[in-house]
Symmetry: C2
Subunit: 133 residues, 2 copies
């Protein structure tokens, strides 16, 4: 029984992964930026900017890679670097107006009814997942 248990979990895991990806694909399709770039912009929107170190942790890459990734988004005009006054070693990546607009637009592809549906499901899924992870 333990054996089949594990197979069920593997299937469940992969299915969730697949569904999340399908949603992300849908959200990002037709955009000029990569999925990672768009998710980053969304993160910045939600968190009012991200420190370079937070991005490194979130993307599981080295600080050097963060610089390169952010250089691109900056060159495209979607983010700007802001030095923190409390600790001037820290750089925070913040959305520009263009970046803000980009993020807003992402969700316009869904009709309002769909958005409400999605919101409800996401809330429930998160509650469920909180009990285990």
């Amino acid at each position: 029984m333990a054996e089949s248990n594990i197979e069920v979990i593997m299937r469940g895991m992969l299915e969730i992964q697949q569904k999340s990806r399908r949603f992300a694909d849908l959200l990002c399709e037709g955009e000029s930026l990569s999925q990672t770039q768009l998710i980053l912009l969304i993160q910045m929107k939600i968190n009012n900017g991200l420190k370079a170190s937070q991005i490194a942790e979130f993307l599981s890459v080295t600080p050097g890679a963060v610089t390169s990734i952010c250089d691109k988004l900056e060159k495209l005009g979607h983010i700007k670097r802001v030095r923190e006054n409390e600790d001037r070693r820290v750089v925070k990546m913040v959305l520009t107006d263009s970046g803000e607009k980009k993020v807003e637009e992402l969700f316009l592809k869904f009709p309002q009814g769909k958005l409400e549906e999605i919101e409800k499901v996401l809330l429930q899924v998160n509650q469920l997942m909180s009990t285990v992870f």
Copy 2:
């Protein structure tokens, strides 16, 4: 209202992503293979092997990259290439005994009770997500 709606969805999306990642991190921590490699092995386990083209689609990479990715797993001894008899253009990547063992071991880090809990939650989450995605 539509505005805050979207923010809630963004937060929900990112939270799920984070939780999935945390689970994957946990599952793959201490392993010598990358997360992508391990997930691939799991996919092969569940699907009794994967065609090169399926891997390309699943990982969103070009056929050339698939060859390179599979070369590595093959060199490590975790998979082998099997030509399909029905259509000899097709190559199926199949787990070796070593690959099978690798996948089995992944789940040993969780105690049985935790596994049952996870299974239950994954099932419910998938049901929920099926209604929207």
